[in-house]
Structure formats: C-alpha cells, structure tokens
C-alpha cells in the first residue's frame, strides 16, 4: 500500500535560508517529493508522506503549512 502524500508549503526562517540547498536535501531524506525551492521568498513546496509530518513540524527553522486550494468563481457563474 502506498503511503498517503500531503502537499505542504514550508516557510524557511532566515537562518535556514542561507543553507537552503542542504535543507532541501534533508527534507528529501524525510520523504519530500516534487520539491520546488522558491528562492526569492524562502519557501519550499512539495509533497511529504503523512507519517513524516510530525518530524517535519519538529524541524527547527521551518514552518509547515498545508498547501490548500484557492479559487475564484467558475467562468459560467452568473453575475449578481
């Protein structure tokens, strides 16, 4: 059975941003996949196994948030 993956947004504290490449390697060891390092804003996005979430949250210098959906109305919505 494949493990459930959770899409996450990881905000790196300033101290962590200096060495973000190494940090990403560390995150990949925790199971981070499809990672995307957004260097201009100090953020990493990707998917992690649900079972890694606790360990991820315990890592210093990182704030873990769930990647959620944002939407506007569909193109055929009526004008109010």
């Amino acid at each position: 059975m494949t493990e459930r993956m959770i899409s996450v947004v990881l905000t790196l504290a300033l101290e962590a941003q200096g060495d973000s490449e190494r940090l990403v390697a560390e995150l990949k060891a925790l199971g981070l996949r499809n990672e995307n390092l957004l260097a201009a804003i100090g953020i990493v996005t990707g998917q992690v196994p649900e079972t890694s979430l606790d360990r991820l949250r315990a890592m210093p210098g990182i704030v873990v948030e769930v990647d959620e959906e944002v939407s506007i109305l569909p193109p055929d919505a009526p004008v109010l």
């Binding site: 957004l38 201009a40 210093p60 210098g61 506007i72 193109p75 109010l80």
Partner: protein, 442 residues
C-alpha cells in the same frame, strides 16, 4: 497566576500581579506571561504546531503618546500621514458633495461616477484618466487565470508570461485573468470602442497563471507565481483571488514571508479582501499584515455587500466594470458573463505604479506616500491599518489633536519571529500545558 476574575470589576494593575508571573484576561482568552527571553523561541515552536491550542505568542510592547517634535522614524511618520489621509478620505466620502459642473468637477470627487463616451467610470474615479503617468516602464504582475494572448486590445504590448498550473499554458481559458489585466493595464483606446477601462495603459504586463481554467489554484502555485514576479522585478504583484478564512483563523506564514521579501525588494503585493459578504473576515492571502488588501466600492463610492469585514476599502467596482469585462469576454473569448468577483482589485496600480513611481520611484514606501498624500476616492490602505467605520470618527478626532494620544505603531515592518537556530536542542525547555504559568485559550 492571577485572573481578572479574581479582581473586583476586573480592574487589575501591574502591582497586583507582580508575584503571580502571569495574568489571564478571562473574557479575552489572552494571558500575559513573564518569560525569560530564552523561552520565547521555545514558545514560538509550540505555537507553530498547527494543533497547538495557543494560536500566537507576541512580545508585549509599550505604547506611547506622540508629541510634536519627537524624532520618529520616517517610515512611522509616513504611516501616520497615510492613516490620517485615508481616514480623511473616508470621511470625505461619507459626506459627499453634490456633483459640480465643468472640467474641475470632472477631476474632483463626485457623488456618483458614470461612463462617458471615452471613459468608463473606473479610470475617472481613480483619476487615472487625468494623470500624466501611464505606467511606462513599470512591471505589473497579475497572478490569475492567465491571459488571452490574442486579445486585440493588447496587440503590440509584449507581455511576459508564465504558467504555474501543471498541464495548462498561460492562455486564459476562464476570462478572469484577462479581465484583471485589462482593468490594471488595459489600453488608452481599446480596439473597437475607444472607451478606456484600463489604468496603467502603458505598463509592462507580467501574466502569471496560478489558477486553472476552472478558476482554482493552490497555495504552492500562487507562491511560485509570487516568486516569479519578484525574480522578474515586478513592482506590483496583483492577486484578485482568495480563500475563505474562518473567524479567528490566522494568516498563512508563507504568504507573509513572501510579502515581506517583496517589500524588501521594493515590490508591493495586493490581494482581494473578499467578495463574499459583509460579515466575513478578510480572505487569505489578503489577511497577511504585509499584503495590501483591497475591496470593492460601487460607482457611488459606497461599500457593497462584497466588502469583507474589517476592510476599509477602496477601489470600486460595479456593473460598469462588469460590463466592461463582459465586453472583453463577449467580444473575444465568447465567455459567459463574469460575476464581479474580485474585479475591484486590479485597479490598485494607479497610485502604486503611476503616480508614485513618477514622483517617488518604485516601491512600497513610495506607494504609501503616494496613497497617503493623495487623499480622495483612490485612497488605499492596508487592511491591518484600517478601522471599522465605527472607529473612524474617534480616530480622526484623535489625529486632529496637536498632542496626539496613544497610537499603536505600524507592525508590517516587524521582522519575522525568530525561530530556534538550527542545531539548538529543539524543544528543550519548551513549554507544555502542564507547566505552571502557561495559559491555554478557551
């Protein structure tokens, strides 16, 4: 630990709690706790846990009365002027003068704006139509559903584009993105009608697709779009989108950090407050302290049902705007009518890209100056600096006094809270709910 419930009439002074180490404000769900500086970062780690019952820990700060001649940092003075002018503007709008005749009245504040032969009411009300600036050389990034690259109104504009939606090109399959870009950067004389609807008519367009054809996206796509906008030197990053936020729910740290990085790079992120009703919180990411949240006014400069709670609001949109958008869609994309979602928001670049860039150079500080010093219907202030209407009059009275009483200083420049350094023994000394002196929310 002391509680306000222990004191008669809930009147507590510092002396009363000197030895208690902590004070719980019963009715507020807030506790004041004395901690060593070293404990603060541990507390923040606890709070960063999504399941923590404590949503936030903040250092207690002193608030001072302001006196003339005090040496305040220019940023704070700017903020106060901006604050004052925005309030003046709101009061002015509450007390609408009767519309006058003639060219002067055309440029002044009017009770209600309407379309003319060559202008929709939006560029009139924002005074973009009378500005000597046109956004030339200014990069405006619009993160939305993409852009209709074949739209005749934008022939010859050479937009910079990118899609962050897997499997979809930047071509707009929805219509909202093209509408927003049109409102922000549409041409002076649109093909076919010559009736201007755009604000920064000559700005460089950066079209970032972060919402798919159905109008949905994810935080990660949007953040990738912001990152792209900054790497491409956008002065304005405009996002006419948002996710609902429940009452009491905080902002997302990722957007706040992105916005602070943007400010440091002299770029301003603007996002839609909400269109879902009067009694809902400002949506995410507009609820971040470092993002400028904007809502809608109609052509009479009145707030509409679309306005989110707590947003002072500032740009405007009504049927005229929607019609203009429909023209976009019908003429070209053959789309259905677009509901007036967040369409008020893209008009924001007028003060931020045109006036202020010409006068003060690009950047957030200059945007604040431009906004603050140009009171009128275009005044825009960040949500966190806005007051609900009930507070406007007392605040204005306070600001008019020569010796100003207490005002809480701006927060948006506050550095990110420090996290424990890498290599620290994390959680060491971390506070647990069982330890004395720690209060949990109700």
């Amino acid at each position: 630990m002391a509680s306000t419930a222990d004191f008669e009439n809930a009147v507590v002074t510092e002396a009363d709690i000197k030895d208690a180490g902590a004070l719980l404000f019963e009715n507020l769900g807030i506790a004041l706790v004395d901690v060593d500086p070293g404990q603060l970062s541990s507390m923040e780690t606890v709070v960063a846990d999504n399941e923590s019952p404590i949503p936030s820990v903040e250092p207690e700060e002193y608030v001072y009365a302001m006196k003339d001649g005090d040496d305040y940092p220019p940023s704070m003075i700017d903020d106060l002027y901006g604050y004052r002018d925005a309030i003046d503007s709101l009061i002015q709008n509450l007390d609408q003068p009767a519309p006058d005749e003639g060219a002067e009245a055309e440029m002044g504040v009017q009770a209600t704006y309407s379309d003319t032969a060559d202008l929709t009411w939006g560029p009139r009300a924002t005074r973009a139509a009378y500005s000597a600036c046109n956004g030339n050389g200014i990069r405006v990034a619009v993160l939305d559903t993409g852009f209709d690259l074949a739209h005749p109104d934008f022939a010859g504009r050479s937009p910079i584009t990118a899609s962050f939606v897997p499997g979809e090109s930047v071509q707009d399959g929805h219509g909202h993105g093209t509408h927003c870009i049109g409102t922000a950067c549409g041409p002076k004389s649109p093909a076919g009608t010559n009736r201007r609807y755009g604000v920064a008519t000559n700005a460089t367009i950066l079209a970032g697709k972060v919402l798919n054809h159905a109008g949905s996206g994810t935080d990660s796509w949007i953040l990738a779009g912001i990152n792209w906008g900054l790497q491409n030197n956008a002065v304005i990053i405009s996002m006419s989108l948002g996710a609902r936020v429940a009452i009491g729910q905080g902002f997302k740290m990722a957007y706040e950090q992105a916005a602070r990085n943007a400010l440091n790079a002299n770029s301003l992120i603007v996002a839609a407050a909400d269109n879902n009703g009067n009694n809902v919180p400002v949506s995410s990411p507009a609820n971040c302290p470092s993002i400028m949240a904007v809502g809608a006014l109609n052509s009479s400069l009145q707030g509409e049902y679309r306005r989110a709670r707590g947003c002072g609001v500032f740009q405007r949109q009504d049927a005229g705007q929607v019609r203009n958008l429909e023209r976009h869609q019908h003429d070209h994309a053959a789309r259905g009518r677009l509901r007036g979602t967040v369409g008020a928001e893209p008009k924001r670049p007028r003060p931020a890209t045109m006036e202020q860039v010409a006068r003060h150079g690009p950047g957030y500080r200059a945007a604040r100056r431009a906004v603050g010093r140009r009171p009128g219907p275009g005044a825009v202030v960040p949500t966190r600096h806005c007051s609900p209407p009930a507070l406007v009059a007392p605040l204005a009275a306070i600001l008019a006094l020569p010796d100003r009483p207490a005002l809480i200083g701006p927060r948006y420049r506050k550095p990110l809270p420090r996290r424990p350094r890498r290599g620290n023994r994390r959680r060491e000394g971390a506070l647990s709910p069982d330890q004395p002196g720690i209060m949990l929310g109700p």
